[in-house]
Symmetry: C2
Subunit: 460 residues, 2 copies
């Protein structure tokens, strides 16, 4: 079995059908729910809440699940749906759900609630729980602290393998993962790690300190989540331990959370590549007003940047008036330069994001781009020259071919260099988006084209 | 500790320094290597082979590592570096390394070798190993079969918990993961799964059949790797079991391999978004000729598509000759339409890739895009109108503002719809790349602009 739109649609229809009856059968509903995974129930619930706005039905479904299962399902809902659900529940009910949630999801949900609700809930929590929640909720969004969980298995230095094994068994129900264990000294400093696999094949009487790996890969609470995901991927980790400013271990980021981060970072990069601001939610769900705001900023800015292209054209008005046929090739030339430049920028931005390209590689990349873009320019000039002959004779063909090579080469170099310049000045290289690169190249393309045209057409 | 360019550079320098001596100290080298992770040594080795072309030194470093470690490091090298290494080793040495590699990496490397070498190696392998390798190497690239490993822990139906635990301990050294166990019946059919965590907290005498989860998430050998990564991410799996056409379990895809797939698929999507063909390797490493080939196809194609814009301009030559000031706004108008359209296309393409948007959402998305793009167009028209007044008077301002709204709206709708049309005709929606969308909109933008201009400027 795997994810399947059809079967989820069916499940949703069946649940809503049953709930629409005068006396819905609890047994039937709970049977149907038991057959499905929390992730899938979460998706169905999300649609019921967001598309159909049936909050009562959604709450009824949650109510049929065990508290543990309900907390699980809740964790799969996007923030706005979580808020709607929690808005329909009593504090007592919410407290029970919070208790069953993973500590990272608990903190996320908590951060969404308004001040009053938060205070009310905190007051009814046990001291230790309260402090843990407040701490986890206090880390800045997008950092290791914000995505980590405090439910990990720690082992005191000096324990034997058999004692450690006992501790794993005890912690098993609550920990996010029991497959990687962390050895802490009496100060809470992380001094070693070992896999459960290693523990299982070790002699029961051995000391964990003797079998643990001492050189632990870890990260700090305020490390960016993108970096965290990269480390997890690079070293194929099940979980990455997180250390606070005092060197104490405070949590772990698990592989599945790292994978979610990697996906949302890739989405952000792709959107940025087209000058779209960061969306908190999927494009099908963000409010229309938000979508407008996230798109309008660069679009309007680029309108003004495009005025430079216009100014270039105005400057060459005489050349254009004398040979209107030149305008025929304008979109083609600046379009080609823009496309080649956007390609070059994209290759660099993604190369930097994946760690394949670093600032130090600038010179090497420049040399390569010169060769590639030069070849591209020549190929495209050859393609366009015959059309130049057809439309305006030999002179125009020469102007157009020369311009094509120059514009593609120049555009590609702008596109390639911009990400490095941005990175150098600590601006996200992804700001070198296709629209920005295209606009920059449009303006220079106009100048190059009409300068070449003026030079060739002006009688000596 | 985490990944750090500086420390890797240092490590590389130290290793090369030591190897350059007349009698390099093996102890020193092996000490330095022992301090570092296989992933990091792999990166250093890769640079030594590819940037510095020092194969002898690379082989010397591999030689100092234990066979197990060397196999591990080899697994982190890109294909071309692996080939260089293997080219410098005897069959006997290669066989030893292959034996220690994970079955998935072994098959990948094997697929890179030439026919003769493969035959030679196969002849010297044990029957069972040979068959396993041949099978794994036979799956098509980009499928579950090609990325799965056959090193998983299977448990026979009917075993007790304590027997299963014993089997985990026995398999621990060789399995990719021991944390998810798969229960097979006598035909090799997958009938259940359980986590090691579950096994550990269960009564030793209990039967695995009674505690296993019977509804297993699995995938088929020929499922696309992108889909595989999505399933692993969606259900937060440690590993996803893979089933052959006869319903028998043949392997697992582990979470770290799924994460690598997700990253390379995201890179491919980003490149496609800028009309760049699929690169087998990082942009800093692919040969220049390949880079040229992967970029030139669409660029040249779009040169010809751009001729339509030219043709549009030629058609309106009279209008342009009469009012050359109109050309001033041409790059700005078609640029804005292209940018807005590329944004809309990108949002849809990524939405489809992450599963947020499906073909069924077409109507909803169209309605949203109408509202968003309409607002964007009006905002941009307001921004550009004053410049229209300044450059050409009121008539030009009205022409430009009207054209802006129409082009942005029309362009956004083209950009939004194209991915759905492509998906409908089973073409990858990512083909609706920014350059393609921009070119399409350029041509229609020219027509819209000059049609409006002609209509308004022509005396009644």
């Amino acid at each position: 079995m795997s994810l399947n739109d059809e079967s989820l649609k069916e499940l949703k229809a069946e649940l809503l059908d049953e709930l629409a009856k005068e006396t819905p059968s609890k047994t039937l509903l709970s049977l149907r729910l038991a057959e499905n995974r929390s992730a899938d129930i979460g998706e169905v619930l999300e649609e019921i809440i967001e598309d159909d706005e049936l909050l009562t039905e959604a709450l009824a479904i949650l109510d049929i699940l065990s508290t543990e299962r309900a907390a699980n399902v809740l964790g799969y809902l996007p923030g706005d749906s979580q808020l709607e659900v929690v808005g329909g529940l009593s504090d007592t009910h919410v407290l029970k759900l919070l208790e069953e949630m993973g500590s990272d999801e608990r903190a996320d949900l908590f951060n969404l609630l308004d001040e009053d609700r938060r205070e009310g809930l905190l007051r009814r929590m046990a001291h230790k729980e309260r402090e843990d929640l407040k701490r986890l909720a206090s880390y800045e969004e997008g950092t290791a602290g914000a995505i980590m969980t405090s439910d990990y298995v720690s082992i005191a230095s000096g324990m034997t393998v058999s004692k450690a094994m006992m501790r794993v068994r005890q912690t098993a129900p609550d920990a996010e993962t029991v497959y990687q264990l962390y050895v802490l000294d009496s100060d809470g400093q992380l001094i070693g790690t070992m896999s459960l696999r290693q523990l299982m094949v070790s002699r029961p009487g051995a000391l964990v300190d003797n079998i643990m790996i001492k050189d632990v890969i870890s990260t700090s609470v305020d490390e960016e989540q993108e970096e965290v995901a990269k480390i997890v991927a690079r070293y194929d980790l099940i979980a990455l331990p997180v250390i606070d400013a005092d060197g104490r271990m405070v949590g772990i980021v698990t592989h599945d959370d790292a994978m979610d981060v990697a996906e949302s970072e890739a989405t952000e990069d792709i959107h940025k590549g087209m000058s779209i601001g960061q969306l908190e939610n999927g494009v099908s769900r963000v409010p229309i007003w938000t979508l407008y705001r996230k798109r309008v900023f660069w679009l309007v800015l680029l309108v003004f940047a495009n005025l430079f292209s216009g100014a270039g054209i105005a400057y060459f008005e005489d050349t254009i008036a004398a040979q209107v046929a030149l305008v025929f090739f304008l979109p083609l030339l600046i379009g080609s330069g823009g496309n080649a430049g956007a390609q070059a920028a994209t290759l660099m931005v993604r190369g930097m994001a994946t760690g394949d390209v670093g600032v130090k590689d600038w010179g090497k990349m420049l040399g390569r781009e010169l060769l590639v873009a030069g070849s591209l320019g020549i190929t495209m000039a050859i393609a366009v020259a015959p059309i130049g002959v057809m439309r305006g004779g030999e002179a125009v063909a020469i102007i157009v071919a020369l311009s094509m090579v120059t514009i593609v080469l120049f555009g590609s170099l702008i596109g390639m260099c911009l990400p490095f310049v941005l990175e150098r000045f600590k601006v996200d290289p992804a700001t070198a988006s296709a629209p920005l690169v295209t606009t920059l190249i449009d303006a220079s393309g106009v100048l190059i084209y009409f300068s070449i045209a003026t030079a060739i057409l002006t009688p000596l």
